[in-house]
Amino acid sequence: MSQELLYWQALNRAMDHEMAADDSVFTLGEDVGLYGGSYRVTEGLYAKYGEWRVRDTPISENGFTGLGVGAALVGMRPVVEIMTINFMLLALDSIINGAAKIPLMSGGRLKAPLVVRVPGGIARQLAAQHAQRLEHTLMNVPGLRIAVPSTPQDAYWQLRQAIASDDPIILLEHELLYFTKGPVDFVAEAPPMHRAIVRRQGHDVTVVSYSRHAVVAQDAANELAKDGIDAEVIDLRSLKPIDWDTCAASVEKTHRLLVVEEDCRFAGAGAEISATLTERCFYSLDAPVQRLAGLDIPTPYNGALEAASIPQIADIVAATRQLCQATSESKAA
């Protein structure tokens, strides 16, 4: 029984279902209550569950995130919404020194079932301080899990799984995905939260991506299909942990790997994916792993420059073509 929903609506339903099922679930953040959330994710919840469970906070990221960490430690299941990932920098102490470490430092006696929902990524001309990607930072925090849903269905599943989990989990939501539409099945059994999904089957090359760029990669794959290049597109869905088995199985089948990410190239998700899959699949690869990533620059405000700073469909098409061409040439030789 699936229903066509927007990404934000799917998240909204997940919140509703979890709050209805479990009294310990509550949400807090800037404008989540009366206003209904910057991207409408908490719309209607304030009216339904009241101001104690849908809590508006002052502009004090480290304060209310710390409040969430504390609540989680004493048995609640808080969902903290940080308005954008750019403001999350202020909350990193609570997340990194608090949520990520206390479970280990307490010898497992304290759990931190915290969910931090953060819109992020490069949207439309929000300028450098509002168009950051912090995957690379968060991925380097032991103790955190990171989910990156790219479809309404995943948004629904992964938010519910995150709330149900006893681990601190960051849900990175892409600002350009909130108004994308897709089928959401409320009944179907969800795959494990960190499981990668093959979005498109192919046998010529594996394209690994996540979040919005997993969608962009699928568009590129459809372009490539017109040239007879059959690309397999993997949507990671989770950046920590990463489902290496699904990726490795694909690379062993296609022998070529292109990693596409919106985040900066240097020391980011793509670097990790490239390194690990090179280690695991070295003898299966016909060519060096290629990466397409955002440039190592603060995101420009100018629309054309902004677009030029992150991989576009044409870039993925060109890079994939090069990758396939280079390998078929070296094979011929």
């Binding site: 190239r265 397409l292 440039l295 030029a308 700073s309 870039d315 060109a318």
Partner: protein, 379 residues
Amino acid sequence: MSQPIAMPALSDTMSNGRLVKWIKKPGDAVHKGDVIAEVETDKAVMEVEAFQDGYLSGPLIEEGTEAPVGQIIGYISDSPNKVQTAEPLAAPSAPHGADGGNSSDKPAIAAPMSAVLAASTIASRQPLARRHFASAGPVRTNAPISSAEPTAEATPHTSASKPTLVAIEAGPAYRLERASSLREAVARTMIASAATPTFRVSAQLLLDPLLRAANERQQSFTLLLARACARAIVAHPLFNAAYTPEGLARRERVDIGVAVDDGYGLITPVLRDAARKSMTELSRDWAVLHDKVKKRRLAPAEYSGATFYLSNLGASAVVYTFDSIVPIGAAAILSVARARLEGTLCTLACDHRVVFGLDAARFLETLAQQIKEPSKLSV
């Protein structure tokens, strides 16, 4: 329909050409064979001809810019209405304003690679050396903001890692001036010749008879000297050979390259068949070459392929003696200093892979003989 005009390959060695001047302006009617532009190649300014009838159309590359062979430098349109210009023409056939190419008349350069793709390509495909040391050329031109290296690497100091520049950095402040393509060509030839194992033999030759003959007959002294060399080469044909890894290239004809300074640099117009042609013919050839050198219109075919070279610094009263570098493709070059009463010092620099010391001595003896009897040179 517009047909693109590609940068033509005007010589075998030409990889880039600099567009010196557009002879026609966008909108001008051109006929097949008309000269539409001038392009500076390795050593000369050459004319670019229209390959079909039509109207010159933009976007044209700007004068003074350099483009690789094959790159589109402009268009020929079949209709005056389709001509693209920077500013709209008053009437299709009206003469165009002097500043035909203004800023919107951008060079027709292929769309650059996206920065993201370039970042990927640079990091993965650049040769190691370039990635780690000089980030000068391609990195910066292709992708000004995409360098995957830390920004500090993009500072001008990076170029100092080249040994020459390191030495220069130690000295006073300097500015880099683009070398003329002629100088670049000379530099390339000289570097290519540096590996030639060379030896030198000097002789004192009495050039008076030759000088007198030149005066009497109103002929060029250099020309007579070239003729004398050519005759000596006929007697010692090894001097007309060139070393190649596959064997000695023994040439059927003696072509003498004469080093000339055209005011911009060194160039070597070649006197073809200098041993057998009549002096009248040779004089005519020389006059034509000389004229072209002065106008900087010498074509590659006219300055390359000599089998022997001659360099004369006799015009300088203070030069006592000098020697020259044997250009690739020749066995020897003769350097002639200022004529003196006791004799002129002439140095023969030779490629030791082709000729040996005794060959050089014998060659110089024959040359001395030739010079003594200038009347025989005309026969």
